[in-house]
């Protein structure tokens, strides 16, 4: 590991919809563990959130995406139990063909992907994204969602100075059975608190560094009290712990909570100061990472925590699919998987084509040129990421094509627009669903930008692609 290799940029994604504790309290007549939780929409999952956080980091670094040589992703909620998830994220980001690493099955994976990226050569991107599910009664009252991304390269702003681990055979704190989407806890309070504190503090105590130089810590945080309970065994005051605690505002986002906590801790860390991240996963194992700031790196987590719109409790349940999930059978107008797969560069990254004869832009770049009607080999180019609505409608509840029935039941009516994107020389139009907005609000003339989402699922395979969100 070179001495100056480190984090050069970070990225963050938190779903826009938030469930407030008052809403849960009204529904359950009990006070939930967190004051607010981020609710992923029906078209969001660990993959889409990973893409958004990673894109945020890449844009902040202003790095050529093709230069990224390593990509690591960690999540406890891969959309499928078996099948690689990294290639889809890599394609959506346009990363070229980096070496891949993925980690799952434990909330400790944030540390695994950070280490993988820190120890790689060349630009390496680590993303942690999670959207846990659980029964509404218990953990379900605090589950959240989010993603954090860390881009490592030479001349890092934040350098990883030390790593320490601590593990023991201590099961049952948090687990998910095969073929279940629901995280469980046995809630044996003292056993859980003792195990967590012992392993996390044990790992942190094993780090080689001056505890007095530590400005902020981001600790395992399934609930807001746990980081403070862990810190009782450590020489850190409450403020140092609060710097890296976000669970009270985004909910328990599984592996992503401490990773987003680390972004928050880094926001507080000045040059020469250090930050500690203490990851933990039931089983149990803990990993502690010691970072030193050579330059400040600010992602503005506090401001992002304050964004978002509140949703009602029934809306949150519907959005997460707790209510009213449905199986949709195949039928007419079926788009086969191979024909979908052929157009992935268009669906993920708006790769259009330019006619070598007349210079017209074509999207999708296939068939005869829309300008000169000649059959040509289009020269690929990426469309700009801002477009304008030129026509728009709202597909009301019950009116969606069958591929979108489940999404509509969960997410409600949606707007569908024709978006015009202006290129250097002309413009192209494409149809796009609008997301992240009240569907009745977008109007002709509004600006929109693409965002990576689940489009629909057919025959067990989720098709991803771009929707558009108001700027």
């Amino acid at each position: 590991m070179s001495t100056d290799r480190g984090i050069v940029a970070t990225g963050l994604y938190i779903p826009r919809r938030r469930l407030d504790s008052e809403a849960i309290e009204t529904a359950w007549n009990t006070s939930p563990a967190v004051s607010q939780a981020a609710v992923p929409t029906a078209d969001e999952d660990a993959i889409t959130m990973a893409v958004e956080a990673a894109r945020d980091a890449l844009e902040r670094a202003a790095m050529d995406t093709a230069a990224v040589s390593h990509f690591a992703v960690g999540t406890t909620t891969p959309p499928l139990e078996e099948e690689a998830l990294a290639p889809r994220i890599v394609e959506a980001l346009g990363l070229g063909d980096p070496r891949l690493f993925s980690a799952t099955q434990s909330t400790v994976v944030g540390a695994d992907v950070l280490l993988a990226a820190a120890e790689a050569d060349g630009p390496a991107l680590a993303v942690v994204a999670d959207a846990p599910q659980s029964e509404p009664a218990e953990i379900g009252q605090r589950i959240g969602a989010g993603a954090a991304a860390f881009l490592f390269d030479a001349d890092g702003a934040v350098v990883l100075r030390d790593v320490a681990t601590c593990s023991r055979d201590a099961p049952g704190l948090r687990f998910r059975e095969r073929a279940s989407e629901d995280v469980q806890e046995l809630a044996i309070t003292t056993y859980e608190r003792d195990t967590t504190r012992a392993l996390v503090s044990g790992a942190i105590e094993a780090l080689d560094g001056d505890p007095n130089a530590v400005r902020s810590v981001a600790l395992h945080q399934p609930t807001p009290d746990i980081p403070h309970r862990i810190a009782r065994a450590l020489p850190f005051d409450g403020e140092t712990v609060d710097c890296g605690s976000v669970v009270d505002r985004i909910g328990d986002a599984g592996a992503a909570t401490p990773a987003i906590g680390l972004l928050s801790a880094l926001d507080a860390c000045d040059v020469g100061e250090t930050t500690i991240a203490g990851f933990f996963g039931s089983g149990s194992s803990a990993v502690a990472l010691l970072f030193e700031s050579r330059r400040t790196i600010e992602r503005g987590v506090a401001a992002a925590l304050g964004d978002g719109v509140s949703v009602s409790y029934p809306d949150a349940l519907r959005e997460r699919g707790t209510l009213n999930e449905t199986e949709v059978s195949g039928g007419g107008a079926h788009v086969s998987l191979p024909s979908w797969q052929r157009t992935i560069p268009q669906r993920y990254r708006l790769i259009a084509g330019r006619c070598p004869n007349c210079g017209s832009s074509a999207f999708p770049p296939e068939g005869a040129c829309p300008g000169c009607h000649d059959r040509v080999n289009f020269q690929p180019f990426e469309l700009p990421s801002t477009g304008e609505i030129v026509a728009v409608t709202v597909i009301g509840q019950g009116g969606a094509p069958p591929e979108f029935i489940e999404q509509q039941r969960r997410d409600g009516s949606f707007a569908v627009a024709i978006v015009e994107i202006t290129t250097d020389s002309d413009s192209v139009r494409l149809p796009g669903q609008l997301t992240n907005c009240d569907p009745t609000e977008p109007e002709v003339g509004d600006s929109v930008t693409p965002t990576f989402r689940r489009i629909y699922e057919v025959e067990g395979v989720t098709r991803y692609g771009l929707k558009f969100a108001p700027e």
């Binding site: 007419g332 107008a333 788009v335 026509a391 009116g399 094509p401």
Partner: protein
């Protein structure tokens, strides 16, 4: 080039008929068409049949054309099924006209059939979306109503037109359809009804959308000699225009006109040697209210952006200068996809013979305009009564 003539036209009732099959519906249309011919003739004289259907609703049946003609007893008749979505039978008519003009057939049968109302709502949604651009447009989550609603959103922004104008289309067409015994929604509605209906796809509400329909229609096309032998009044196919366009709205240059309609109309007018001013009536493809306004402009019935004014002034009402959709249109009469194009000819034939339920006085020249999907395929036919006007 020899001329082609309409010697007979008929349709089944349009509506929801769970007790009928596509074959039995076509039987009814065919019988009415044969009965409408002035002189009895042997149906074995029919040389060729072209029948339009999207796919018999969502069934995607093969050989439904021969199934229909064999069921009728037209044993052995060469039958071709034509698929061009909602313009299927407009194109079937075009083929029949072509066959007669080419001299391959003395009498050709054109028609269409569709059964749309007997499947589960989920199943219906699957196949109703097959006639648009399926890989991008539909996968943005839109529907047919959605695509026309997008056109409406752009049109209402670009031109002097309002949602109330869309509702006026419904009021006018229902007023006509209420008098058509074959109409599916044969009742009148008020502007208030048509303004306060549930929203389907903003800005379109239920009254801005045609229904789904079971039904069939049939038209008999013959050469001049046969027409003179079998009919008292000759109705000539004076112009047959057709054109294709990109099937996705996003792929087309204009969001507020249908280029294929324009091209098809220009070709039909040129062949007929007429201007839009010469028309006495028109049956246009009003699958959604906005489509009727676009049709006024694309067919040259008014200037660009002037459709709402034309409508408000009453020019296209039954007693106006140029009545449009005296049959009730797709809105009130119904829209059994494959049967719609030749269904329009049933009205044109009746008007030119002075037999329409909403008669246009002294009608001599009429037009039918049939659009597939949101504009991927269009036919326009001009029909002319040869003796100078209905009496």
């Amino acid at each position: 080039m020899p001329d082609a003539y309409v010697i007979g036209a008929g349709q089944s009732d349009f509506g929801s008929f769970p007790g009928e099959s596509y074959r039995s519906l076509f039987d009814a249309a065919f019988d009415e068409a044969v009965d409408s011919v002035d002189t009895d003739f042997d149906t074995e004289q029919i040389d060729e049949a072209f029948l339009g259907t999207l796919g018999v609703g969502g069934r995607q049946l093969g050989l439904s054309g021969p199934a229909v003609t064999e069921h009728l007893g037209l044993h052995g008749l060469p039958t071709t099924r034509v698929e061009n979505a909602c313009a299927a039978s407009g194109y079937a008519l075009r083929h029949a006209v072509t066959a007669v003009r080419a001299g391959m057939a003395d009498i050709a049968l054109a028609g269409g059939y569709e059964v749309m109302t007997d499947m589960s709502s989920d199943h219906t949604k699957w196949w109703l979306g097959v006639s648009g651009e399926t890989e991008w447009e539909r996968l943005s989550g839109t529907t047919f109503a959605g695509v026309y609603a997008q056109m409406a959103s752009a049109y209402l922004r670009e031109f002097e037109a309002t949602v109330e104008d869309l509702s006026r289309v419904a009021v006018k067409n229902h007023q006509n359809g209420a008098k058509n015994p074959h109409a599916q929604l044969g009742f009148e509605c008020t502007l208030e009804d048509a303004m306060n209906a549930p929203e389907v796809a903003a800005p379109l509400n239920l009254y801005h959308c045609c229904p789904t329909t079971d039904g069939a229609s049939a038209v008999l096309i013959a050469n001049e000699a046969v027409a003179r032998e079998l009919t008292d009044t000759q109705i000539r196919v004076a112009g047959a225009g057709a054109a294709s366009g990109r099937i996705g709205l996003f792929q087309r240059d204009s969001l507020t006109s249908i280029p294929a309609s324009k091209s098809a109309a220009e070709r039909a007018y040129e062949e007929a040697g007429i201007d839009p001013d010469d028309l006495d009536f028109a049956e246009v493809h009003d699958c959604f209210a906005i489509a009727e306004l676009l049709a006024y402009e694309d067919l040259g019935l008014c200037d660009r952006g002037d459709a709402a004014r034309l409508l408000r002034e009453g020019a296209t009402e039954a007693d106006g200068d140029l009545p449009v959709n005296t049959s009730g249109g797709l809105k009130s009469k119904g829209h059994p996809i494959g049967a719609t194009g030749t269904g329009q000819v049933v009205e044109a034939f009746a008007q030119l013979r002075g037999e329409a339920h909403v008669p246009v006085e002294n009608a001599r020249v009429g037009l039918t305009h049939n659009v597939g999907g949101s504009g991927g395929g269009v036919t326009v036919h001009v029909f002319e009564r040869e003796d100078g006007g209905a009496t």
